[in-house]
């Protein structure tokens, strides 16, 4: 309304339900300057009007003793329809005996006002509640809107993070003379294996997303490897290989220095994968010579994905191998040793993984 804004044409609507003409006229006369008034002559008619448009009324004034459904019965129906917490209902009654009062309040009536009414009292009591409900609704709508905006912002930030991580990793791959496709495929292979084999059993989809995102950063340490080693065609000397091996530890150190990453669910996976994706099941990998299940399952998966991708594509030191040769080399342990469990899971989906490579560009 309302009382405060009485110069404006009223838009808020009140329903008066009373079988007595004079009661309706008195109430209508009081509220007319501030509200649009609808009237119903018995309980059933009033209930139908409320139910036919649940947004229509900002308050209902309800008589108790009426033919064709009394006020308490109307309250019961409104309670059933879960409307009493959305529309304030006021009982306007001549006799407020205890049983009636008790049931009315128990059902959720907003207030009970005694007849004969005193205009300024009834006006003020109802207006305060209407204002309260309106404020609450506006506030509720605003909170919902803000929640939606916050979620959208959070989603944008997550997408931006992914973009930055991919951009950084791709930049490093470019130095390596490769396209950005490598990190993208490692991400996809890692995610696919965890989503489609028993290795991912018990993992939430969020956990798998984090691992896949972390896999993108497995080679970030290569940023610290000199160009002449990183881009060298053919075999590295033992000294050069020692330097090359430090991309694992340097990768871990680099990730460790990004405070925003340390706070996220990706960090522990990213650090572990960067440092340990060259460990071997037989303990002859680097840098920590971890053995068997000392190597986390995500580092193991990224490790096999990395080997598979390297073999399947042309590199500065080699051509792409045909799929049959790639599969045989991994099975024969020519490119590292992997756990039987990992190999089994990997080859159970290798058919699909092979489809990640478009024949024209990537495979021989």
């Amino acid at each position: 309304m309302s009382i405060s804004a009485s110069n404006e044409k009223p838009t808020d609507r009140i329903l008066i339900v009373d079988d007595d003409e004079m009661n309706r006229a008195i109430l209508a006369n009081i509220f007319e300057p501030y509200y649009v008034i609808d009237e119903a002559e018995d309980g059933k008619a009033g209930l139908d009007m409320i139910l036919s448009d649940k947004e229509r009324y900002c308050a209902v004034l309800l008589d108790v003793m009426m033919p064709n459904m009394n006020g308490i019965e109307v309250l019961r129906e409104l309670k059933k329809a879960d409307l009493l917490n959305k529309i304030p209902v006021f009982l306007i009654t001549a006799e407020a005996n205890n049983d009636t009062l008790h049931e009315a309040y128990h059902l959720g009536v907003m207030d009970v006002i005694l007849k004969p009414v005193t205009p300024f009292v009834v006006l003020r009591r109802i207006d305060s509640v209407v204002e309260l409900f309106k404020a609450r609704k506006v506030l509720g709508d605003r909170v919902i809107q803000q929640d939606i905006e916050l979620l959208e912002k959070a989603q944008q930030i997550i997408e931006l993070n992914h973009g930055l991580i991919e951009a950084l990793s791709t930049a490093i791959e470019f130095r390596n003379g490769e396209s950005g496709e490598h990190v993208r495929r490692i991400h996809d292979i890692t995610q696919f294996i965890f989503e489609n084999t028993e290795l991912g059993d018990g993992m939430s989809s969020e956990e798998i997303q984090n691992i896949a995102l972390a896999s993108i950063m497995h080679d970030v340490g290569k940023i610290a490897i000199p160009d002449n080693i990183l881009g060298k065609p053919g075999r590295l000397t033992p000294e050069e290989f020692e330097i090359m091996k430090t991309h694992t530890t340097q990768g871990g150190e680099l990730l460790d220095k990004i405070p925003q990453l340390k706070d996220s669910g990706v960090y522990s996976y990213a650090y572990d994968i960067a440092r340990h994706h060259h460990e071997r099941w037989d303990g002859r990998g680097y840098p920590d010579k971890l053995k068997g299940d000392e190597i986390s399952i995500w580092a193991q998966v990224v490790s096999i994905a990395d080997v598979y991708d390297a073999l399947s594509c042309k590199r500065c030191y080699k051509d792409a191998f045909p799929r049959e040769k790639v599969v045989r080399m991994i099975k024969d342990g020519e490119c590292g040793t992997f756990s039987p469990r990992l190999l089994e899971a990997f080859f159970s989906v290798e058919d699909t993984l092979a489809g990640f490579y478009s024949k024209k560009e990537e495979t021989a």
Partner: protein
């Protein structure tokens, strides 16, 4: 409504100022409902209910009449009817019937003032 009529209504037990307040100062509205009061069937229904010995009909009529009297600030009549409704609710039919004398007296006085 002239001052003299207001005074006569007041003398018959109607708190005119209070009633006008309820009608937000609208004298036409008050006069309209005072006029309707003379046509109201509840008083005769009340008399008939006691004649027939029908407590339920008596309660309905007494309660409704009481509501009308309350709205019109017929304080004296309202108070007696309030008492009658209370007795009828408690099941004291004879006690309620005993109030009919003073109810009729007040009612008749008011009707004649309104009509006069």
């Amino acid at each position: 409504m002239d001052t003299e009529k207001k005074q006569r209504l007041h003398d018959a037990g109607i708190d005119v100022a209070d009633a006008l307040g309820r009608f937000m100062g609208n004298e036409n509205m008050l006069e309209k409902f005072l006029g309707k009061f003379t046509q109201d069937k509840n008083y005769s229904a009340l008399v008939e209910a006691f004649d027939k010995g029908d407590p339920e009909a008596a309660l309905t009529a007494s309660h409704t009449l009481k509501g009308v009297c309350g709205n019109l600030s017929m304080s004296a009549l309202f108070e007696i009817l309030t008492e009658q409704v209370r007795l009828l609710r408690e099941g004291d039919f004879d006690g309620a019937k005993a109030l009919m004398g003073s109810i009729t007296e007040k009612y008749t006085e008011i009707i004649s003032v309104i009509n006069g």
